[in-house]
Symmetry: C2
Subunit: 262 residues, 2 copies
DNA sequence: CGTGCCATTGAGCATGGTCAACTCATGTGG
DNA sequence: CCACATGAGTTGACCATGCTCAATGGCACG
């Protein structure tokens, strides 16, 4: 759909560096790293790695020889077309698995880059069947993560395919903020960290950065939200949900009690 | 993005009835129903159900109290916005699981309808943890299906978000045909059954039926493919892959030997 | 204090949507 | 067996959402 084609760009252009992403101290849920699933993952991991913001840890056609689990920080999953167009598939927050535990895929199918400084656990592929059999809680964590990712992808499909730009942005921010609160937590003022640039939002929703900027301006001017390097803050949740076309009656808010102060 | 809004349509409009879908005899892989995963599913199922084309077996906000596995026929997963716009999320071919084995989702999050006459197995939700623990091959089938669905969703995201209408349609048909050959098989002339209407393709790719029609016309006139109620037949696979922007070098064709005559 | 990237704004344009007919195949009921 | 209803597929003329291109301001970092 978008005809802007970056002609000679290298296939793996470096991740745009949002300066805030690097320096930002990342708030963590108090239980981060100690949830039952985290314990299962840490027990199963052959190695824990740290990466700095911007580093690509997997590229699309790499052999899929391990399963990763994000422990802290943000990762980004994306696919890049030959002519430079790119589609962000998802953000991977702490708790999410990246890779293919089934052993049926040769390659990852997408590239994975650290958006902020991050830590992740490495589960070597050949040990996965044995690990899954030995640890039901690991199996359940993997399944949970897979279905979270699938639901998130279905949400994105609906946003991109059948919503206007404004609706899509509202909906994306709305549901992404919930995932952030859930996986990382929110600050005492109700805002959450949000290291994605407008360009990345555009690449997530099949829009151009310019148009994202225009629509965000509208949301900001209408007093619906604040969004900048400092984070994302909803001022009028109800109006945002309305714009997003979300039916609030079906929201489960059982994670609100997990909010943390930062 | 699309502004065509069906104002007073009921939220669950009946599935368009492609007449071919009802009467068509469905070719099956010779091993259909006897793959290791099928055996595991049949052993675990509390019930096998048959539905006729057009029946909605799950609607979006239904309690997610069971996990289903498609045994034969085609199902469709879709989400419907209040104003009637709808997004097809995926087709479910034999072997695919529908629902949420993690037990964390209250509702399905999408509606599921039989596109053709179909059979599916029912795994009651409360028995799932026990079943997964007891049967590694069931666990592995569930995981496989989840990652297949996830990859398919990622493909769709890329198609909708970052490809033109023509590219998206080419890419969608290309990869969907492979999934059909894999799950169901192809006919001796190389064609596969294809009960989706142009409207459904439009609802999958975020386009209008009219535009899908125009783009398909181009593909047909250029001798790239044939598509009608009888099925989908690629005449020039290479050109289609080219239009789709698929890199053929990374295709694995290890399932070709499974082709069946019909 | 320049360099780079992100965010912003504006003017013009194109892909794909809207609306409205019409054809054709299938299925139904008299 | 034919008239009719239905809905998929098709085509054309027009139009709008969102893209392209271009230029600017601002903030971080070296």
């Amino acid at each position: 759909m978008p005809m802007r084609v970056a002609i000679a760009e290298p296939p793996c252009r470096p991740l745009p560096q949002n300066p805030a992403a690097r320096s930002q101290r990342i708030p963590q849920r108090p239980d981060a790293g100690n949830r039952p699933s985290d314990i299962a993952v840490r027990a199963a991991a052959s190695e824990i790695r740290k990466v700095s913001a911007g580093v690509e840890i997997v590229s699309e056609f790499d052999d899929c020889d391990a399963l990763f689990c994000v422990l802290s920080g943000w990762m980004i999953l994306k696919r890049i077309l030959e002519d430079g167009r790119q589609q962000l598939l998802d953000v991977a927050l702490p708790g999410m698995f990246v890779g293919d535990p089934t052993g049926r895929c040769r390659s990852f199918g997408y590239s994975v880059a650290a958006l902020t400084d991050a830590e992740y656990a490495v589960l070597p592929k050949r040990r996965i069947p044995e690990l899954l059999r030995a640890s039901p809680s690991l199996t359940s964590a993997v399944l949970d993560a897979a279905y979270d990712a699938l639901n998130s992808a279905y949400d994105s499909l609906t946003d991109i395919g059948r919503r206007t730009a404004l609706e899509a942005i509202a909906s994306y921010l709305y549901r992404t903020e919930r995932r952030i609160r859930r996986a990382i937590g929110c600050r005492s003022d109700g805002s959450v960290e949000f290291p994605l640039t407008q360009s990345m939002i555009a690449d997530t929703l099949g829009l151009t950065p310019e148009h994202v900027c225009r629509m965000l301006r509208k949301l900001k001017d209408d007093g619906v939200l604040q969004l900048n390097r400092a984070g994302l803050h909803f001022l009028d949740r109800e109006r945002l949900a309305d714009l997003a076309g979300v039916m609030p009656e079906f929201e489960d808010d059982d994670f609100d009690e997990l909010d943390i102060a930062v």
